[in-house]
Symmetry: C2
Subunit: 217 residues, 2 copies
Amino acid sequence: MTKRTAYDEKLERILRVAADIFARKGYHQASIRDIARATEVSLSGLYYYFDSKEELLFLIQDHAFGTLLRRLDRVLAREEDPRRRLHLLIENHLRFFIGNMAEMKVLSHEADSLSGEFRRIVDTKKRRLTLAARSILEELNPDPAVDLRTATFALFGMMNWIYNWYREDRDMPPEELAEHMTQLFLGGFLQEGNLDNVPSGDPSAEGDTRIWSSGPG
Amino acid sequence: MTKRTAYDEKLERILRVAADIFARKGYHQASIRDIARATEVSLSGLYYYFDSKEELLFLIQDHAFGTLLRRLDRVLAREEDPRRRLHLLIENHLRFFIGNMAEMKVLSHEADSLSGEFRRIVDTKKRRLTLAARSILEELNPDPAVDLRTATFALFGMMNWIYNWYREDRDMPPEELAEHMTQLFLGGFLQEGNLDNVPSGDPSAEGDTRIWSSGPG
DNA sequence: GATAGCTTGCATCGAACGTTCGAACTCCCT
DNA sequence: AGGGAGTTCGAACGTTCGATGCAAGCTATC
């Protein structure tokens, strides 16, 4: 059924190039003229493939999120152990993120730039992803003192923030990064087994030694 | 020295209102006319307080970051224990973040909107904050297998992401959130003492499913 | 009541923006 | 060879933007 027409291919090319530009300059900064120049399609010619700049943004986001979710479903389908499921979710997320930095930056950064029906559709997909993560965390039977909402968003924060710092030529590949983050999230930063409560301030503290003093008094 | 003139107060009010607008509409979306309307200062009147829209954005970011760093210095000065220092950093960060959501959203979201000298100055402050966190993590003597760069940015991701989900009326106050995140980061999601490595796949498992395919080759 | 700092309204500039429209081109089916 | 649908284009529209200039008025301090 889904025949691969020339139309489809050109549209996908436009989406890819536009995502790059949106990622680099920001959605509102980037002009349709920029995209026309980069795609080598005329200004008016672009409007044959979408009705408005906002729809173009929507198509990028929806396509990216759809792919991410589809892969997640596929990957999670054949694993039951909660820890491994968490690891798979993180790996899937990071792999796709790093492999499609532009799209994912647009997704993270321009969430508010959509409105109306466009916004609703993307938000629904986002919610599905959040719930998937949350339900895995539930399966893990965490310390009941842990707030699940906080933990879920902490996890996504950890993962999604990478577009602010990750460099392919400098940082480890996604699979390795996924291991690190899984380990970290499941309690891996300090190796020591005993984790008594994080200390609250001790009133009998020492003098006024400023250990880390870098800045203005 | 620093006398509190009417000029200063009005400027700060402008910065505050402008931050609100930038946070809500985005920097490029918001017009100087929007800010004139909201501050009830005339269009030309605004330009008495800054020379360009970009400088206005810079003033907001620099002021917010400056305050954050100043408070951090003060708070860390009287604590030596690395765990408590980490807790203080997180608490300071979240408290300021949540108390100044608009400014911090602008800071996180419009980092790329500055250029030249403005950009340089803000980047320097950002770097100082990153290094402060990193050096505390070093003091903690973590599992040497942990990559410090990754861990540092994971921590900031966890914290900075909150502007995407935190609601004052729904979520816990910053102090409590700081405890949760400190606990989480130091290894608190699962309570169990023994954290053997995150499971690598058990070869005796089901069929040919690749359970945990990590790492290149 | 003069002086300096601050503020206003209004008019205007050039540049850039998203979008539209009718004409033209290309390709395939007959 | 011809026709029609699908695709592409150049040119232009109307609007908004950041920024500036200017004459006038306000207000507080000496």
